[in-house]
Symmetry: C2
Subunit: 274 residues, 2 copies
Amino acid sequence: MSPETAEPRSAGYPQALLSPAELEARLQQIGRERYHSRHPFHRLLHGGRLNRGQVQAWVLNRYYYQSRIPLKDATLLSRCDDLALRREWRKRIEEHDGWPAADGRPANEGGIERWLVLAEAVGLDRDYVVSTEGLLPATRFAVEAYIRFVREKSLLEAVASSLTELFAPKIHEERIAGLLEHYPFANERTIAYFKRRLSEAPEDVKFGLAYVTREARTREQQEQVLAAVRFKTDVLWAQLDALHHAYVEPAQVPPGAFVPVGPQEWQGMGSGGG
Amino acid sequence: MSPETAEPRSAGYPQALLSPAELEARLQQIGRERYHSRHPFHRLLHGGRLNRGQVQAWVLNRYYYQSRIPLKDATLLSRCDDLALRREWRKRIEEHDGWPAADGRPANEGGIERWLVLAEAVGLDRDYVVSTEGLLPATRFAVEAYIRFVREKSLLEAVASSLTELFAPKIHEERIAGLLEHYPFANERTIAYFKRRLSEAPEDVKFGLAYVTREARTREQQEQVLAAVRFKTDVLWAQLDALHHAYVEPAQVPPGAFVPVGPQEWQGMGSGGG
């Protein structure tokens, strides 16, 4: 096709609107290039090559991310005057915070509680974890940047930043298999958080993907969507960089952050949370 | 008791901590002096002395308040790192936004939908109401001030500002009786919003009152609680002042705001929301 007859849209000109399939392909490409499943720390974790203190540091810092997700989602709710979107988005808060049994619906302890079960299983004190003392400052900064993004960017970008869930089921499957194979603390009860996310995340992301596909009506908005997902991969990656630096190599723990104590070999631990 | 032997707390010195009973008594006093049940517009409404356009204006403007309550409550959630408080507070969003039937729990259309049923019953177009076109600017300003208060003040003050619910059951009872007696649009279906609030509000306020009684640990904090409730009564009162000015006396509708059309007598309307 010569330049004269090229139809700008199909020719992929910078301003041409992407088709839904093209948009999703770009999102998947971001996942392949930037999702934290590629991070060396995760390879060590899933391969059974982290000692007790290193896993504790991961669980402790990741708790902060998990525990702030409902605040991030409430931030999105608080700026959303679309009742249907609010109803859908509220589910994310419910899944993390849980609910009591009521009106015939069984109780759900919630993802944060499930994470605390994991924390206790790896030998951390629940109150210490909840206090967020011992957190790496970089964890706090990354999570706060995510919440700020959701508060300050457009609603479209706020929704889009959740789309790293597109890539989550694969990492959860790897993690479940890797933890069960390599670590004595891992069993059905202690890794319930990841099991549950396997069924929740695809539902959430289906809604989010449909939303951004529908609401990004210009190429500029589509680029904002892609940038939001890249931003989010940065938020996730930065947390692992900080863990790796502090606890793996060069293993320089910043002042005030968690310092592992006691035996670091798994062999001496018994069945952990078993 | 002489000044020398007086115990500052029981003597009611400015800085003495109030007992729970004293704190609640002060709250009730604010209700008696400042709650919008005393406003002339409500007396006209409940006494059957408002015409069709005046009731429409009330329903239209009050919709904005109702519809922003979930955003206000999500704002509170978004700054609350206490999971137990979030779980409790989320109920308010659920009640207003509703939920679908799931896991054996029956659906709830939600308070906003119930309000829209009322809006249609008084002859308003649902889409026009939802668009918030025709709103009195003072309604918007008052509601925005409430949300800003919940975002910017302390969490204690944000919770406290909900405590006007202490006074709500009485006004809802008056309203239910008054509407049913005087207006052809009023029936079980169209006033379902108020009926439901009769059972919801006491549960909500019981939690809120226990929270502020427990968390206000200094007299200064107790005074902040009282000031928050006074602020909230201002938010409610200002909305009725604006309605009264625009639609009752002197009946000067601001530029761009809703202007009633058609017959204003109820007699010609039939049974309204039927």
